[in-house]
């Protein structure tokens, strides 16, 4: 039997998969392209094009309400994601490897509980609960909203990390322990780097989920804590204006610049 002479690198490539991936990416970005295009629409109505204009960028930058909403959205998402990812990583480490122990299934079910209940019910019930807490402790402020976001972000961060940990052999960690590394050193220098893609994936999911949350935020947010989705939702009955498109485009531009900066900085390191 003659051996097909393919180089190892080519084995990785699955032409069908590559083709599908490019199509999917194209489809993913099509609405974004439309969104950006229509931010330059002169017309007030968000769905019909008249002519090119920058007026909505001016309006968006002047509009204090939408600026605050964007800032609050990102603040809450950033903090909730960080907290949720840390908590989820710890929980994943404790539940995903090694033989089962009593209480493991229950713990996993508990961690995933926020995922399983429809958001509207969580929203209303959490509102009832927080009202009591707010009265008793007298605390107000963004912390409550961040807490609520952290709770439902945890399962989203947890699942990818858990998937990564499953079947991950602990040979490296055993080797490190043999070399007298403490558990924390072992985690920091061996486990965490191996885990990083999972942690990053989980963090990104949590961030996206927090940014887009409407219902729970609608109920829990206090005065001055409007997020971007809430702001837009409030506009639906009276006509959504392209200011929102402009803000979204600005946010995308900022994000892209930040990522580009991060990557050029990383490359510079030897």
């Amino acid at each position: 039997m003659a051996r097909r002479s393919t180089k190892p690198r080519e084995l990785r490539r699955q032409p069908l998969f590559t083709w599908v991936s490019w199509c999917v990416l194209g489809v993913l970005y099509a609405p974004i392209a439309v969104l950006i295009l229509f931010s330059f629409n002169d017309n007030r109505a968000v769905m019909s094009w008249t002519e090119f204009s920058l007026r909505w960028y001016g309006a968006a930058l002047e509009n204090e309400g939408i600026r605050n909403a964007a800032v609050v959205s990102f603040k809450v998402a950033a903090i909730a994601t960080t907290a949720a990812t840390i908590i989820a990583t710890m929980a994943a480490l404790a539940t995903s490897r090694g033989p089962g122990y009593p209480g493991r299934s229950a713990a996993i079910a508990l961690i995933n509980q926020p995922l399983m209940i429809p958001e509207i019910v969580t929203a209303v019930a959490t509102l009832a609960f927080f009202s009591i807490l707010r009265q008793v402790t007298g605390w107000t402020g963004l912390g409550w909203l961040i807490l609520a976001h952290t709770v439902f972000c945890i399962p989203f961060a947890y699942m990818p990390i858990r998937a990564r940990l499953a079947d991950m052999p602990d040979t490296f960690e055993i080797a490190a322990a043999d070399l007298y590394a403490t558990p924390w050193q072992c985690f920091r220098h061996v486990t965490l780097p191996l885990l990083m893609p999972g942690v990053l994936a989980g963090a990104m999911l949590a961030f996206v989920v927090s940014l887009d949350d409407v219902i729970i935020t609608l109920m829990i947010a206090g005065p001055g804590e409007t997020t971007l989705p809430i702001y837009i939702l409030g506009q639906i009955r009276r006509g959504v204006t392209p200011e929102v498109n402009a803000v979204s485009t600005i946010l995308i531009a900022i994000t892209v610049l930040m990522i580009a900066a991060m990557f050029t900085l990383q490359k510079k390191r030897p």
Binding site: N63, T82, L127, G143, R188, P223, Q235, R237, R238, V240
Partner: protein
């Protein structure tokens, strides 16, 4: 690096959770989204040196669910007529007695003794309007002032209709078409309404609140609509026309009110008084495109507002029908009809 990131995160979280000192000179307004003129807020802030935060909700029910528990942190809310009645009965509004305030004389007398707040002990008129429908007169050339277009549409409108995604608006329209009373609990009549709606649904394209987008993008040619939204849509599609059906149509009024236990009670009262001034009412009207209930505001309103057919009703149109909140029994029945309609 991870450690410092964590400490920064914790520190910020604590800083944000620290209680906000309730300083003099604040006001927290909770209004419908995109319903408050920024210029009016600026004027109020300048006049009284008060810092205003403005948050938006998308429906009366959302607002009620949120303030029901108390302690929401808001001072001012802007409920619809039936919602004011509900909130007064539930004890959620503060009895601020606008009728004793300085500017009360400006309130149009016909809006003083209203079913939801007789004598105006709790609330002040904000904007009022009607809920009917808009139709493109180029697509349909007949008489538009009848609900028949919604329930037994002609061929050119079938499949091109949008209804509001609101249980009360749809069922009330059905009740009016069949000439039955509102807040109806009669089983036979409700059965007839349900059949009417289920049959008509086949001709409806969508059921959505975003009426302006639907009309201007030409996804539909007829839509249940509020008069102000209809005027905005007409700006983009001039052939649209607002109908005043002879069977009747809903009237509504949004009112400014103060929540019981509001943190900034005095500032809230100042705001109520401020809203009764003609110039400020006009600022709101010019922004939201609806009529207000304050005498003398016509001077300050844009001319387009004073002549638009959506704002100025024709003389032969029936009076708008203000519907009070219905009993739980009726709401349950409506709920069943709505679910059956949309299952």
């Amino acid at each position: 690096m991870k450690k410092s990131l964590m400490t920064t995160a914790l520190a910020s979280a604590f800083a944000l959770t620290a209680g906000l000192a309730q300083a003099e000179g604040k006001l927290n307004i909770y209004n419908w989204g995109n319903y408050t003129n920024p210029k009016m807020i600026e004027a109020f802030e300048a006049k009284y040196d008060i810092d205003v935060t403005l948050d938006g909700y998308d429906s009366n029910e959302t607002m009620l669910a949120k303030v029901k528990e108390g302690n929401s942190g808001y001072d001012i809310v802007v409920p619809g007529d039936y919602m004011v009645a509900i909130m007064i009965e539930e004890g959620l509004l503060a009895e601020t007695n606008p009728n004793a305030m300085e500017n009360f004389g400006n309130v149009d007398p016909k809006w003083v003794d209203v079913y939801w707040d007789p004598g105006r002990k709790y609330s002040v008129p904000y904007q009022w309007g009607t809920t009917s429908f808009t139709v493109d007169t180029e697509v349909f050339k007949g008489d538009i002032h009848t609900l028949k277009l919604l329930f037994e549409p002609p061929a050119e409108l079938q499949g091109r209709i949008n209804m509001l995604n609101d249980m009360n608006d749809v069922i009330n329209a059905g009740l009016r078409y069949l000439d039955y009373p509102r807040c109806n609990s009669d089983p036979e009549q409700l059965k007839a309404v349900m059949e009417l709606l289920v049959n008509a649904k086949a001709h409806w394209r969508t059921m959505d609140y975003a009426t302006i987008e639907k009309l201007t993008s030409r996804d539909v040619d007829l839509s249940q609509n509020w008069n102000g939204a209809a005027m905005r849509a007409r700006a983009d599609r001039p052939t649209l026309s607002y109908a005043y059906p002879k069977e009747g149509f809903t009237g509504w009024m949004d009112n400014v009110a103060v929540l019981r236990g509001a943190p900034n009670m005095e500032n809230a009262k100042l705001f109520l008084n401020f809203m009764m001034e003609p110039e400020n009412a006009a600022l709101t009207s010019n922004f939201a495109r609806y009529a207000n209930g304050i005498k003398g505001s016509e001077e300050f309103m844009e001319p387009e507002m004073l002549s638009a057919p959506e704002i100025v009703m024709p003389a032969d149109a029936p009076a708008p029908d203000f519907v009070p909140p219905c009993s739980q029994e009726v709401v349950d029945l409506y709920n069943k009809i709505w679910t059956r309609l949309k299952q």
